[in-house]
Point group: C2
Chain length 491, copies 2
């Protein structure tokens, strides 16, 4: 296994090293696409299950809409085409042929009359269906979600964080009132916060996007922003209040109980495999990946240590009832008794893969009726009595989950600064201090000028953050500002 | 709700009627694509879970490979390009723009140098990755699966059975020996048989495909063939022994324990949303969809019947503990106490949706301490004591599951004929008798001639079917034949 460079040395290379060495993903043949390897996909499946359960518990149903969207659909919502239809995969032909030189070429006779776009997001195709499905208030609310692949032709790509194809979920809901649609967007924002905090152990700062950073076609976008260890921000998920925009673009009306006709009100919301990137960059260290136990495909690895076949047999017999108890308790585990690898080599491998707890068992443990437990998060090692070990491990997994969150929250707090002058602001961004809270006059003009000067963007307008509440003056223009907003350079 | 035409009157229209009226799927804007609606998707999720568990239990891991494949990959395996790369979606551009007339058009400056194909199946992109992942026998076997969307540009489409985009799983495995790869294909064939029989309640006849019907790039293809109520066959799933073909095409070698180098041996296997079509056409009747309880999203619907608010309250109180017991027993249910719909209207709706058991509860039941149970499969209705109802329903769900399988098996047996002359064969096919077992001389020439004459194809060469075992003479050429094979017209 190749050695990782340290985070300090080269954060980007360190990140790529973990993606590769922990077997999370691999590059694909087509520009900007990625292969999600089994270990990486097992993590994604756990993340997916956590969200999917919450979606269903709150009355959403899964469905599937086609990946292929007629080009013409994108023209319907003006802001949407600017935001999405530009850099996208365009299907123009439906056949290949073998030419005279025996090469496979596109068959020019099989040109599509209407070009087809690979979905960058599905508002258009879904609202076009809602037009046929919604007649009256009895059909509302309609709360659908889909798990699928989407495509955005990205020039500069990075595994998980920015790829030409990625996996995500997109919720699309339709409601009788604006209030209900707005509340739906707020509720899903809350569910995202909850899963990202309690399952992924990632703290976020939440709030609304500025008009300039809003989803193309939304009236309001809520976001969750996390801070990575290199002090850049990652947008973790967004929820959009769409108002009646897509209903108007696709002519989706409903008759109310009183017989009146009105356009439907909508919301949409999504999280993607990007979360995998944030997960890596939030928790991992110079030894490799670090995973919160709740999404670790393997929570405990057991490494038997022996010098002979006889010893190996003894050790395996010794751990048999531990394994039974693990299964009973729903602890996911792996026993690595492969030959030809030293214990040290195995320890490194599971550290690289971020397995939260390691159990090493040798003849000394058999004699002492003990096992040795090692934590991945803080490298603590300790022996416990064998009979206690399952209880201790259950407790340790909980501790690790909590510790990772607290560690990340501490990092975020340590790297969130308040600045009140533009010079301090520029310095804070230049020094990569992290999240920067500062006053802004509320105009897109100012926002863009600051971005031009510093590459920092407004990540969100936090709602209840005490550090943001007081009034003040815009760092750039000196005009009045109602509250501080959150700036950072972002992935 | 629109009335269904009967199966007898117009089978194809009946099928489309169920797809529409049971809310399974809807047409999409792009040719041949479909929207899988929430109720249809909930069935697919259950099917998916059943297979996925078996795959994981037999040592397979899920992963994700890109949907975009370089055109050049298809040229590598000669048979594969003929089978797949012809009718496919070709991406030629990566940008749209707004032209002078304010229309959205393809930006000709954003033409891709190398065109990209939307995956019709993923052997090429996966074997290209295996080349980098497999070095030695220690890396084998590699047993991966992915659940994804695939694309085949179909001219004549039918919901679920033949669509331009569909959902499926594709397993791709790599092994050190031909025997192991062959056994893997056989094992997956067995798992398909098991799930299709025991979960979908569909009987199949299994066997190998002829060389002509084999997967493009396989050395052997195993298939499961089911008979629909219109006596046409549906291919339910296939498992392929790939030999070393893709390993050779993508140069995937491994070093054995003795240090020798050899190409890897492969298998691939898949089932798709096509199973949804077979499910509908196997079990359903002129009242609508019929679902085996094991994949029914709603196993029991409870319809409270009342003439006043007071009565409704009484009935809902009365069923409260039944509902609690349903949850405890893991029975999925729905209580439909909507106002404004008559019980009869609701009964029809759930019959259309194929809900296996209906529980009607009115004031008379409250007085008698009973409930009325109705079975969807045979329309039996009976009253049971309230305290017994959960046990009776559990038993009834089992009965329905078994009855549907037996009914379909009986139909298949009744519609499987043995013929020994070409005239009888042509008549049997013309009369749509169903599966036709007949002798064949083993040549592609004969197979194609029979297809040309009758549109019937060889669905499979059954292995242990006693009706096929004896030797005889080819119905067309009179040449010797080792066993009968299975013919039918197919979807």
């Amino acid at each position: 296994m190749a050695q990782l460079v340290s985070r300090k040395e080269n954060f980007s290379e360190w990140y790529n090293g973990i993606v590769k060495n922990a077997n999370l993903a691999d590059q694909a043949a087509v520009h900007g696409c990625m292969i999600i390897k089994p270990y990486g996909f097992a993590i994604w499946e756990k993340i997916k299950e956590s969200f999917d359960k919450k979606f269903k518990d709150t009355g959403h149903q899964n469905a599937y809409f086609p990946a292929l969207i007629p080009k013409s659909f994108f023209g319907r919502e003006a802001a949407h085409v600017d935001g999405f239809a530009k850099e996208c995969a365009v299907i123009t032909h439906h056949r290949l042929k073998v030419n005279e030189e025996n090469k496979i070429v596109v068959d020019e006779n099989a040109r599509l009359q209407d070009e087809v776009i690979l979905r960058p997001t599905s508002e258009t195709v879904i609202w076009n269906a809602y037009k046929n499905w919604i007649r009256s208030y009895r059909d509302l609310p309609l709360k659908l979600n889909q798990w699928c692949n989407v495509f955005r032709w990205e020039m500069k790509t990075k595994p998980f964080l920015r790829t030409s194809e990625f996996l995500w979920q997109e919720g699309h809901t339709a409601h009788a009132t604006a209030e209900e649609a707005f509340n739906e967007a707020v509720m899903m924002h809350g569910i995202y916060y909850d899963v990202i905090k309690n399952i992924l152990a990632i703290p976020t700062i939440t709030g609304a996007k500025t008009a300039n950073e809003r989803f193309a076609g939304a009236e309001e976008t809520f976001t969750l922003e996390a801070l990575m260890q290199d002090c850049k921000a990652v947008q973790m998920g967004t929820s959009h209040f769409l108002g009646q925009r897509f209903a108007k673009a696709f002519d989706v009306k409903f008759s109310a109980a009183d017989g009146s006709l009105d356009f439907v009100h909508g919301s949409s919301w999504g999280v993607s495999t990007r979360l995998m990137g944030a997960l890596i960059m939030t928790h991992s260290d110079d030894k490799g990946l670090v995973l919160p136990p709740k999404i670790a495909p393997i929570q405990v690895v057991i490494v038997p240590i022996s010098k002979s076949e006889e010893e190996k047999k003894n050790v395996l017999t010794y751990i048999a009832d531990i394994i039974t108890k693990f299964s009973q308790q729903g602890i996911s585990f792996k026993v690595d008794d492969r030959e030809g690898f030293t214990p040290g080599w195995k320890f490194n491998e599971y550290e690289m893969q971020g397995v939260p707890v390691r159990l090493a068992v040798g003849m000394k443990d058999v004699q002492n009726n003990s096992v040795e437990i090692a934590r991945r998060d803080n490298f603590e090692k300790f022996s416990v009595e064998k009979d206690l070990c399952v209880d201790v491990i259950l407790k340790t997994l909980e501790d690790i989950q909590e510790n990772l969150y607290q560690r990340a929250l501490h990092f975020q707090n340590e790297h969130t600064v308040i600045v009140d002058s533009y010079d301090d602001f520029k310095e804070a961004i230049k020094q990569r201090k992290g999240f920067v809270l500062a006053h802004w006059d509320g105009t897109t003009e100012t926002e863009l000028k600051i971005k031009e000067d510093t590459q920092a963007t407004i990540r969100c307008i936090p709602k209840d953050d005490p550090r943001c509440k007081e009034e003040g003056k815009c760092i750039l223009t000196g005009k009045p500002s109602k509250q501080r907003v959150l700036f950072a350079q972002a992935y």
